[in-house]
Amino acid sequence: MEQLFQQIINGISLGSIYALIALGYTMVYGIIKLINFAHSDVYMLGAFVGYFSMTTLKLGFIPSLLLSMILCMIIGVVIEKVAYKPLRNATRIAVLITAIGVSLFIEYTTMAIAGAGVRAYPQMPEFLTGTYKLGSINITMQQVIIVIVTIILMVLLQFIVKKTKIGKAMRAVSLDSDAAELMGINVNTTISFTFALGSALAGAAGIMVGIYYNSINPLMGMLPGIKAFVAAVFGGIGIIPGAMIGGYFIGIVEVLVSGYGNSLYRDGVVFAILILVLIIKPSGLLGKNIREKV
């Protein structure tokens, strides 16, 4: 029983990371119907920005987190302006291929600059390395911080989307961008803002992964990116609460499969879930079936 609790705690911290990345996928999909493959590389860049701000600039955790979120925000907006905006009226497949191209470009540019090897994060201060014991259950301070930061960011995101003017604009564009434009909403600004929000969350996930696992490399975004995408599809792509639920679900499933089944089936089970979701309920857990009117 205690082992089950321990495994669920492990799963929640892993799921938090997936959820943060999945939010970026889902928001961008919701607004321009694009699966932004470069998103997982923004997450990787977040980890590298955090690394350099801690080693070269010698900043603490919170300033590094903010710096990494801000820089990722800028990178996300630049990617959108340079790569996706000129293709606004192109076919969806053209944009999708561009997204893959951007992803590869970021990965290998980083590799050329920072090298392909694994880097270890610097030694963390005392308040980040402690371990709490509840009976025989261990909770590390890093796990606590990951979950707390994730919850704060999600609450903030809900607030922005539901209560602010720009959030209302996002929802309007996602519902019908042409109609939104006719109502006087600046669609381009809204799309940029969506990229900025999603990228900032990915940046936060990147730096927290760096602290938690202590190992980063230029291709670290690939697998978590795909899993976060599965999480977004599972929850219903385009739906923000769906991405959060999906992220935690995938995290916990992974941990339980390795913990009680065979650790080698972990990734297989995650992708089997994706296939099942696509067969049984293609719109995802929280998705609504929208009939297209002819």
């Binding site: 270890a120 030694q123 190992s215 697998l223 390795s258 913990g259």
Partner: protein, 385 residues
């Protein structure tokens, strides 16, 4: 287009001319020529350069002591640029044009294997100090007659570490956590399990991960509830570092054993010095080794090259000494006689341990087990088979 074709033709013609002439060159009988075919540039240049540093020190010492059977050694050194096909071309060149009696190198298993067909064709020995992949010297068709190595194989380390756990640590219950995406780790795990269970031990759980994984908490939580005394962790430092760190964070403080994949300074960075305690791994060579010949080697090496030798340098040194010993016993520079003498090597005393050649041209030698405390290499002992 026409110009390109004529240039290619010209090159081809020149090359045939060169090879044609090569056969006619006369042998210089005053020296023994040895070929050096190593990675001096390219991605694994650090392995190749260190090996050559060791080889050159050995040749210098042999020549200073009067050479072999009165003849001095002359090294013909080429850079294969860490490229397999280049390595093969150079091996051919060394054997057919430079008329060397044997070729040393390359350092990595893949490149070394690529030169073996040439060795068999030309009946000239090739020997490597660091090609550890299991099937280098032997395949389904049997032993590759002209290929030798003086390092133990990847999977032999699994056997050695199982014996270390059983006999030196007196452990009978082990957990194996292996990298399932590399043949290296799978071979190690299979041999460890076989030897450990044959010796009366029990592997209570075998867990697996794939290269690139970062979160091992699930499998560590799973094994935490079990009764075991030691963890065997075959894999490379990228994942091993993270596993050690996460295991210690979870409160698992049993000894952790690994293989030569742990021998990189990055292991300390990834695991953190505080977590890196009670960790032991097998290695070819340790500068902590108490053997007097090791101290002498380190001193001479530092004097010549201005740096501390690593395991590749030590293996390179032993490799050249091993070949010299073979030529001496063969009593001639006939390449077939040298091959037979090398195959019959018995109790050769090297700084990476003394060894005899087995029927598969692999050395039977002790493994050096290095212990890490607080992130630094603290102890070393030789563990015989």
């Amino acid at each position: 287009m026409k110009k390109t074709i004529s240039i290619i033709l010209l090159i081809v013609l020149t090359m045939t001319l060169i090879t044609g002439c090569g056969g006619g060159s006369t042998k210089n009988d005053d020296v023994i020529k040895i070929g050096i075919n190593y990675e001096l540039t390219g991605e694994v240049a650090s392995y190749g350069q260190a090996s050559v540093d060791g080889i050159e020190l050995a040749i210098e010492e042999i020549n200073a002591a009067g050479g072999i059977n009165g003849k001095k050694i002359e090294a013909v050194k080429y850079d294969n640029k860490s490229d397999k096909s280049q390595a093969t071309t150079l091996a051919t060149k060394l054997m057919t044009q430079d008329k060397v009696v044997a070729v040393l190198g390359p350092a990595t298993s893949g490149a070394f294997k690529a030169t073996i067909p040439e060795a068999i064709k030309n009946k000239v020995v090739v020997a490597s100090g660091s090609a550890t992949s299991d099937e280098v010297t032997v395949d389904d068709k049997g032993v590759k007659e002209y290929a030798f190595r003086i390092c133990f194989t990847d999977s032999y380390q699994g056997t050695a570490m199982a014996n270390y756990a059983l006999n030196n640590m007196n452990q009978t219950k082990a957990v194996v956590i292996m990298d399932n995406s590399s043949d290296y780790a799978k071979g190690l795990a299979a041999n460890f399990t076989k030897t450990f269970e044959a010796g009366g031990g029990e592997v209570v759980a075998t867990e697996a991960f794939v290269a690139g994984d970062k979160d091992f908490n699930a499998i560590l939580t799973k094994i935490k509830g079990q009764d075991f005394g030691v963890i065997f962790l075959p894999g490379y430092y990228e994942e091993a570092g993270l596993i050690i760190r996460q295991a210690r964070e979870q409160g698992i403080d049993t000894p952790i054993l690994g293989a030569d994949g742990f021998g990189a300074p990055e292991l300390t960075e990834l695991a953190g010095a505080d977590a890196l305690n009670n960790v032991f791994f097998s290695s070819h060579f340790s500068s902590l080794d108490k053997d007097p010949s090791v101290a002498g080697f380190i001193e001479n090496f530092s004097k010549k090259h201005g740096k501390e030798p690593d395991q590749f340098a030590a293996l390179g040194y032993d490799l050249a000494m091993f070949l010299a010993d073979g030529i001496k016993r063969a009593g001639s520079t006939d390449t077939v006689a040298i091959k037979d003498a090398l195959a019959a090597t018995k109790d050769f005393k090297g700084i990476t341990g003394s060894f005899s050649m087995d029927e598969n041209h692999n050395p039977v030698k002790a493994v050096v087990v290095v212990g890490i405390e607080n992130g630094v290499h603290a102890t070393s002992e030789r563990v015989a088979q």
